[in-house]
C-alpha cells in the first residue's frame, strides 16, 4: 500500500504549476518588471542543490570536481539571490516614492 514518494512530488509539482498560473494573472501589469526580477531571484533556490553539491563527499578532500562545481554554483546563485531581491526592492521603492510625491 505504500505510495512512491515520487508521486507525491509529482502532485506537488503539478499543483505548483497551477498556482504559478493563477498567481501571475493576478499581478498588475505595471508590476511585471518587478515580477520578473522576483521570480528570477526565487528561481535561484537552486542554491540548495549547490550547497549540497558543495558539501557532498568526504570531509577530507573538499576539492573534488563535484565540490568545486558546487562552490561555483553557489556563487552564481548567490549573485542572483542578492542581486535579484535587492534590485526588486529598489524598483518597488520607486513606486512607493512616486506615490508619496503628490
Amino acid at each position: 500500500m505504500e505510495i512512491d514518494p515520487f508521486i507525491f512530488r509529482l502532485s506537488i509539482f503539478i499543483l505548483s504549476i497551477f498556482i504559478g498560473y493563477y498567481v501571475v494573472w493576478s499581478v498588475t501589469p505595471s508590476l511585471h518588471t518587478p515580477l520578473m526580477s522576483v521570480t528570477n531571484a526565487i528561481s535561484s533556490v537552486i542554491i540548495v542543490g549547490a550547497i549540497i553539491a558543495g558539501l557532498a563527499g568526504s570531509t577530507e578532500n573538499v576539492f573534488t570536481i563535484s565540490n568545486i562545481l558546487g562552490f561555483l554554483a553557489i556563487s552564481l546563485a548567490a549573485i542572483n539571490i542578492f542581486g535579484g531581491f535587492l534590485v526588486t526592492q529598489r524598483m518597488l521603492q520607486m513606486y512607493k516614492k512616486k506615490k508619496k510625491d503628490k
Binding site: G20, G49, G70, I79
Partner: protein, 464 residues
C-alpha cells in the same frame, strides 16, 4: 535535522515564495511580497545547511563562495541604472541556468552524496531528471547570454535568420531525447557531456532569430526555463522547495510571456519560435526611412498618469474628430479622484475654428477654471509630470520656434516637451493641418499612443 522537519521547512519556504509573487498583485503589498521571498530563501538555505549535517571543512568554502557571490550581486543591484533592468534580468537568468548545469554535473559525478546510487549506476529516474535539469539549465544559460548581448547592444538587435533554422532546431531538440535515452541505457558520461553541449547550442539558436523588440517576452520565457531547470534538479535532489519553486517560476514565466505577447498584440508562438515575427515586422515598415518612436498602450499611459502629480491635457482637432470630449472628461475625473492635478491647455488655433476646443469642453461640462489659454499655462509644462496631447499636433510642434523655413514658423506653440513625459494620442504618424512632421514624436520622453482618441481615452480610464 530530521528529513521530516526539513521537508516541512522546505514546504514553508515554497509557500513563502508563493506569497512573494502574490504580493505583487498590488503595489501596496509588493514590498511585503519581496520580504516573503527573502525570508523563504533564508529558510531554504539555512535548512539545507542544517540538514546536510556532515559539516566537512567544505563548509568554510561554501560560506566564502556564498559571500563572494552575494557581494557581487549586491554591488550590481546598487550600481545598475534602472533603465538597464531588462539586461540585468537576462544576465541573472544565465547564472541560474549555469548553476543548474553545475549542480547536475556535480550530482552526475558524485551521485552518492545525493543518494542517487553510485557513478555508473545512477537510478534511472534520477538520471532522467538530471538530464532534464542539465539540458534546460544549459539552454537557459546560452539563451540568456544571447538575450543579454542583444539588449546591451553588443550584438545587433535585429533578428538573425537563416534557411533551415527551424529544421535544425527541431533536429537538435530531438537529439536531446536520443542522447537522454542513450545516457540512461549506457550510463556513459560521454553522452551526458554531449547532451549539455547540444543544449548550449540550442539555447543559442533559439534566441538569435528573435528581434530586439521581443526581448522582454524572451526574458520572461527564459525565466520560465530557469524554473523548469530548478524543478528538474528538485526532483533529482528530492527537494520539495526546489520542486514547488521551480514549477511556480516555470509556469508563471510562461504565462507572463503569454500575457506580454497579448499586451503587444503579438502571437506567442511567432515570438517564441522566432524569425516569423521578423518578416512580419519588416513588411509593415515599407521602404520609407522611418525613425523609431516609442509607442505604448493604454496601460502604459494609465501607469504614467497614475504616478504623476500633475497632468496637462492638450486637446486638438483629433479630439473633435473622435468626439472624445466626454471620454476625456471621464478620464480626468478619474485622475482627479486619485489626487492628481489636471488642467487643460488650449492653443488659440487648436481645432478648425476659433474656440473649437471650448465648445467641446463645455459640452463635456469641463469647469472653466480648469481651462487655460496658451500664455497662462505655457510655463506650467516645465513643472508638470505628464502632457496628455489628444489629437493635437501642429500646436505642439517646436519647429515653429526654430525653423524660419517652416510654414508654421512664428506661431506660438505649447511647450509640451518640457513635461517629464509626453503622451501623444493619435492614430498614426501622419501630420496635422500644416502637413509637417512633428519632431516631438521621436523624442525620448514621448510615448505615442496610436489609436482613435476616444477609444484610447476610454481604455486608459479602464486602466486607471
Amino acid at each position: 535535522m530530521s528529513a521530516n522537519l526539513s521537508a516541512i521547512f522546505y514546504l514553508v519556504s515554497g509557500v513563502l515564495f508563493i506569497l512573494a509573487l502574490r504580493g505583487l498583485s498590488s503595489p501596496e503589498t509588493s514590498r511585503q511580497g519581496n520580504f516573503f521571498g527573502i525570508l523563504g530563501m533564508v529558510i531554504a538555505i539555512t535548512v539545507t545547511f542544517l540538514s546536510v549535517g556532515s559539516f566537512s571543512s567544505g563548509l568554510i568554502y561554501v560560506l566564502i563562495f556564498l559571500l563572494v557571490g552575494g557581494l557581487i550581486g549586491a554591488f550590481i543591484a546598487y550600481k545598475i541604472p534602472m533603465t538597464a533592468m531588462p539586461e540585468l534580468v537576462a544576465g541573472f537568468h544565465s547564472l541560474v541556468g549555469l548553476s543548474a548545469v553545475f549542480v547536475a554535473i556535480s550530482a552526475f559525478l558524485n551521485p552518492e552524496a545525493f543518494n542517487l546510487g553510485s557513478p555508473g549506476a545512477i537510478k534511472l529516474a534520477s538520471l532522467i531528471e538530471m538530464s532534464i535539469g542539465a539540458a534546460v539549465g544549459a539552454i537557459t544559460f546560452s539563451g540568456s547570454i544571447i538575450a543579454f548581448l542583444k539588449l546591451q547592444g553588443i550584438m545587433s538587435g535585429s533578428p538573425i535568420t537563416f534557411k533551415g533554422q527551424h529544421f535544425l532546431n527541431a533536429l537538435l531538440l530531438f537529439s536531446i531525447l536520443v542522447l537522454t535515452y542513450l545516457l540512461c541505457s549506457s550510463q556513459s558520461s560521454n553522452f551526458f557531456w554531449i547532451l549539455i553541449a547540444v543544449s548550449f547550442l540550442i539555447g543559442f539558436l533559439l534566441i538569435i532569430p528573435i528581434g530586439g523588440a521581443d526581448m522582454p517576452v524572451v526574458i520572461s520565457m527564459l525565466n520560465s526555463y530557469s524554473g523548469w531547470a530548478a524543478a528538474g534538479i528538485g526532483f533529482t535532489l528530492e527537494n520539495t522547495a526546489l520542486i514547488i519553486t521551480g514549477a511556480l517560476v516555470g509556469s508563471s514565466g510562461a504565462i507572463l510571456s503569454y500575457i506580454m505577447c497579448k499586451g503587444m498584440n503579438r502571437s506567442f508562438f511567432n515570438v517564441i519560435l522566432g524569425g516569423f515575427g521578423a518578416t512580419e515586422q519588416s513588411a509593415s515598415t515599407g521602404n520609407k526611412e522611418q525613425r523609431p518612436v516609442k509607442s505604448g498602450n493604454a496601460e502604459d499611459a494609465a501607469f504614467l498618469m497614475k504616478n504623476a502629480s500633475s497632468v496637462i491635457i492638450v486637446p486638438g482637432y483629433g479630439m473633435a474628430v473622435a468626439q472624445a470630449q466626454h471620454a476625456l472628461r471621464e478620464m480626468v475625473d478619474t485622475l482627479k479622484k486619485n489626487d492628481i492635478k489636471v488642467t487643460y491647455a488650449i492653443h488659440p488655433v487648436a481645432g478648425r475654428m476659433p474656440g473649437h476646443m471650448n465648445v467641446l469642453l463645455a459640452e463635456a461640462n469641463v469647469p472653466y477654471d480648469e481651462v487655460f489659454e496658451l500664455e497662462e499655462i505655457n510655463n506650467d509644462f516645465a513643472n508638470a509630470d505628464v502632457a496628455f496631447v489628444i489629437g493635437a499636433n501642429d500646436v505642439t510642434n517646436p519647429i515653429a520656434k526654430t525653423d524660419p523655413q517652416s510654414p508654421i514658423y512664428g506661431m506660438p506653440v505649447l511647450d509640451v516637451e518640457k513635461c517629464k513625459s509626453v503622451l501623444f494620442v493619435k492614430r498614426s504618424l501622419s501630420p496635422g493641418y500644416a502637413g509637417i512632421d512633428n519632431e516631438l514624436f521621436y523624442k525620448d520622453n514621448t510615448l505615442m499612443l496610436f489609436a482613435d482618441a476616444k477609444k484610447m481615452t476610454e481604455d486608459i480610464t479602464k486602466n486607471l
